[in-house]
């Protein structure tokens, strides 16, 4: 092959040209990648679906809640801040984003709540099964973009927990991303492409936010074929970037409970700081005089209202509860509540939103002793 033309140039020149092609092909992306501005937190926000950390911080400071609850759609479907406030006397606020997991809860706690001037006295985290020690669960898709907004340049706890979590082969990918300096930019760039597509087809001046909302509604779980299940349309378990945002992630939370969802989850409780964000939660809360409370939700029960623990998680739950108590955290578990029968549930593990009023009363009755009486006005301390 191609042996004719090679005779036209010297071997040295041919080698130099090969090196030049490879060099330009690697150096130009590396230079550009390192000079790209880091996707900003605020610039991306253009819809009511978007989570804006700065706005959330301002909102927290304005409201000055005494009790903040963190979680995903498990929390959203169960708790309405105003209803819980009415039941408990605490001034409540939520940091809840559907489809998120412990890595994002940690970033919400550290970079939104603690980074604001608001200092609640209590913080509750809603979780299922072994969510709290499964830091690499649900990090892709829309969550990856969310993480890129929430993360800061220097995240020692994040680096410690995430180090070495990917399989060996992916270390090559991680090294490549570090070399080219673009590990935070892919979702940002793909979003720009979607924005460009929206702009090109903006027939009636409909805003991008509304168009994303329309797409979310179009591809909502209840619009999919019955034979395809939750991920038949996307080709993977994660919401599709560029289409699915927090609402679609909510849908994935709504899947019927089965061990499959937690098939890859840790089944042995590991309290080490490299294993999860849980110890970092506790340490940071202690530094700011915040009492932490972890609430385990009851997953969708059978027709008789039963939802026994999966055998692999029984030991885990005992160890988790003991660890939290040993570290001064409150712990509650609604999964043994026989009154929470199927009639309370809407879809998947979500409580029917119409019953949030009743749930607030029930929840407060369960955690009253652990959370304690509210201070005057139920508010926190602004720093």
């Amino acid at each position: 092959m191609a042996s004719g033309p090679i005779a036209l140039v010297s071997r040295r020149q041919a080698l130099a040209q090969l090196a030049a092609v490879a060099g330009v092909g690697v150096a130009v992306p590396a230079v550009i990648g390192r000079r790209l501005p880091r996707p900003s937190n605020a610039d991306d926000v253009d819809t009511e679906l978007d989570f804006n950390p700065s706005a959330e911080r301002r909102d927290l400071e304005k409201r000055n809640p005494g009790w903040v609850l963190i979680g995903n759609s498990m929390l959203n479907s169960r708790i309405h801040s105003d209803l819980l406030q009415r039941a408990s006397g605490w001034k409540c606020a939520k940091l809840a984003i559907g489809g998120t997991q412990s890595a994002i809860w940690w970033l919400l706690f550290k970079n939104v709540l603690i980074a604001s001037r608001a200092r609640p006295l209590r913080v509750s985290v809603f979780f299922r099964e072994s969510d709290l020690t499964w830091p690499d669960f649900r990090l892709s898709g829309g969550n990856a973009e969310l993480i890129s907004r929430l993360k800061r340049r220097h995240e020692p706890e994040w680096d410690r927990v995430m180090a070495g979590r990917k399989p060996v082969v992916s270390r090559s990918a991680a090294a490549a991303e570090r070399f080219f300096g673009v590990d935070d930019h892919d979702d940002w760039a793909r979003r720009r492409v979607q924005d460009a597509a929206f702009s090109l087809t903006s027939l009636e001046g409909v805003k991008r936010g509304k168009r994303r909302l329309e797409l979310n509604e179009l591809f909502a779980l209840d619009q999919l074929r019955e034979d395809l299940g939750d991920d038949g349309g996307s080709g993977g378990e994660e919401p599709a970037p560029g289409i699915a945002t927090s609402d679609a992630s909510d849908a994935s939370d709504a899947m019927p409970p089965d061990p499959g969802m937690y098939a890859q989850a840790p089944t042995v409780f590991d309290p080490s700081p490299a294993a999860s964000f849980l110890p970092h939660f506790i340490e940071l809360a202690a530094r700011h005089d915040i009492r932490l409370h972890f609430h385990r939700v009851k997953r969708r029960p059978d027709t008789e209202g039963r939802r026994p623990d999966l055998p692999v998680f029984r030991r885990y739950q005992k160890d988790l509860a003991a660890y939290l108590r040993d570290h001064g955290c409150a712990y509650s578990d609604e999964s043994g509540d026989p009154e929470l029968d199927l009639s309370w549930y809407q879809d998947g593990d979500h409580i029917d939103r119409e019953r949030r009023d009743a749930f607030a009363v029930k929840f407060w009755a369960l955690v009253r002793d652990r959370i304690g009486a509210p201070p005057p006005g139920g508010t926190g301390r602004l720093t």
């Binding site: 092959m1 080698l15 330009v24």
Partner: protein, 495 residues
């Protein structure tokens, strides 16, 4: 092992290191060096193929041994009867393996349905151990490709177009050469086997273009194809899509399947070029085709020529009148459809394309601009019409349920709300933005004659060196910034 993984990257690095360690003795004329290189490549190819499912190697080894032996026997006898017998035995054995693993489920399902409708019990079909095994085992990757490649060699030997080979290692490497093993291009002995049997002289210029081709293929896969797949998969998962959303999904699938298959071909050709092999081209801007027949001259060209040479022409080709030609075209495309998959929608897709190719010449007599002429508007009209028809075909290809295809074809544009038109346009625009380099930039450069061939002396100038470097940089940057979060297998792995 899949191309779009670091596993493949390190595998290729290891293969190249071993291969080029033997290149110096090859250049010096050491007789043992090339056989050693071929043996190393064969071991690498079998490692590649058996990486996930080692027992698949049994199939490719069996096919190789059967066809190698048949060709040896064919070349030893001039008795026509014995030669026919030998060819038949070889084809029956080779295609039996393909049929058993690819078509048994389809056959069993439809036969059982037919028997049950007659009141005859059919549980024995799938209730026996062999039936259960074939149903459970799934389709071995690349079986359609290496079967066709191997069979073509035996037929060529039978026809006297090529000689029966003596080296089993060389032949086994021809059948299993890892860059093109799983999804083609479907090679012919006169191209690949000849290269296997000669000393390769990989040039540095070939390395440059191979590298660019490989990375460009990767870009097509992880940026264009996987992004379009996300959109198409979402649409085809909808229970009740409207007209604009469904057709947006079809257009996204059109992007996906072209980019996906073209990506595989380019990564295969790029990998092979690094080793000093030149594989056949498989695509030539297919969406610029001006007729259905032209489309098949540009799409999966190595499969089209295989069916032309080994099915269409033996059936009589176009030499026996219009009606017989149309029949031959229909049979050829029916088989081509079945080659793509054991499902009725592929049969319908094949017949659809066969009908288009058969009918188009007649239509051209009635509507002359369909054939030729008409200036630029005529060309645009033919391209657009062919594009629309091909995408109608993609609906049949993508949607496996005949019932759903029927429902999709009944959708009316006027029933869809404005928001759905907006969403449909947005989906298509997004897919095509990703696909711009493949669909617009590359054909444009080709039109301007700015895409030199691998042996074009212009490539040796510094200007072209810089251009190649920048092209590589753009691909790398695109992969880093725009790769799809959700990856998927190459579509043609399923065939």
């Amino acid at each position: 092992m899949v191309f779009q993984s670091f596993t493949y990257f390190w595998f290729l690095v290891a293969v190249l290191a071993g291969y080029f360690a033997l290149q110096w003795p090859v250049r010096r004329g050491a007789a043992w060096a090339r056989p050693a290189q071929n043996l190393g490549l064969l071991a690498a190819s079998y490692t590649f193929y058996g990486w996930v499912t080692p027992w698949w190697l049994l199939l490719i080894v069996t096919t190789t041994l059967v066809d190698f032996t048949s060709a040896r026997l064919l070349s030893r006898t001039n008795d026509p009867r014995r030669r026919r017998l030998c060819l038949t035995a070889s084809l029956v054995a080779t295609f039996s393996i393909l049929c058993a693993f690819k078509y048994f489920g389809f056959f069993a399902e439809n036969t059982a349905a037919a028997l049950q409708s007659l009141g005859v019990p059919a549980a024995w079909l799938t209730g026996n151990p062999v039936g259960r095994f074939l149903l459970d085992v799934g389709l071995p990757a690349g079986i359609s490709f290496f079967t066709f490649q191997s069979a073509s060699y035996v037929i060529d030997v039978y026809r006297g177009q090529t000689a029966g080979r003596h080296s089993l290692v060389d032949y086994a490497l021809f059948v299993s050469f890892f860059p093109q093993l799983v999804a083609g291009p479907i090679e012919r002995s006169e191209n690949l086997l000849r290269q296997v049997e000669r000393d390769r002289r990989p040039s540095l210029a070939g390395w440059r273009s191979g590298l660019v081709l490989l990375v460009w293929g990767l870009f097509q896969k992880v940026v264009i194809a996987d992004s379009a797949a996300l959109l198409a998969n979402k649409v085809f998962a909808l229970d009740d899509p409207t007209f604009p959303v469904l057709w947006a999904g079809v257009l996204c699938f059109g992007v996906q399947i072209y980019a996906d298959f073209s990506a595989y071909t380019d990564i295969a050709r790029g990998s092979a070029r690094l080793l000093g092999f030149e594989l056949l081209r498989n695509f030539h801007h297919p969406y610029l085709a001006q007729s259905p027949a032209d489309f098949w001259h540009r799409w999966h060209m190595t499969l089209s020529t295989w069916f032309r040479d080994y099915v269409f022409i033996p059936l009589g080709g176009s030499r026996r009148g219009a009606t017989t030609t149309a029949r031959n075209v229909l049979i050829t495309f029916l088989l081509s459809g079945l080659w793509h998959g054991a499902s009725w929608n592929f049969v319908v897709w094949g017949v659809f394309h066969g009908a288009l190719v058969a009918v188009w010449p007649w239509l051209s007599r009635v509507v002359p601009w369909l054939g030729r002429g008409g200036g630029l508007p005529g060309v645009i009209g033919r391209v657009v019409l062919t594009f629309v028809l091909v995408h109608l075909g993609w609906l049949l290809f993508r949607e496996q349920s005949i019932v759903n295809i029927g429902q999709a074809l009944q959708l009316a544009p006027w029933d869809a709300p404005a928001a759905h038109w907006r969403m449909g346009l947005g989906l298509v625009a997004e897919a095509w933005l990703y696909a711009l380099p493949l669909m617009v930039v590359l054909p444009g450069l080709a039109r301007l004659q700015l895409l030199p061939a691998v042996d074009d002396p212009r490539l040796l100038t510094w200007r072209w060196t810089l251009a190649q470097g920048l092209a590589l940089a753009v691909c790398v940057m695109g992969i880093l910034l725009l790769r799809s979060e959700v990856g998927s297998d190459f579509i043609y792995f399923a065939f």
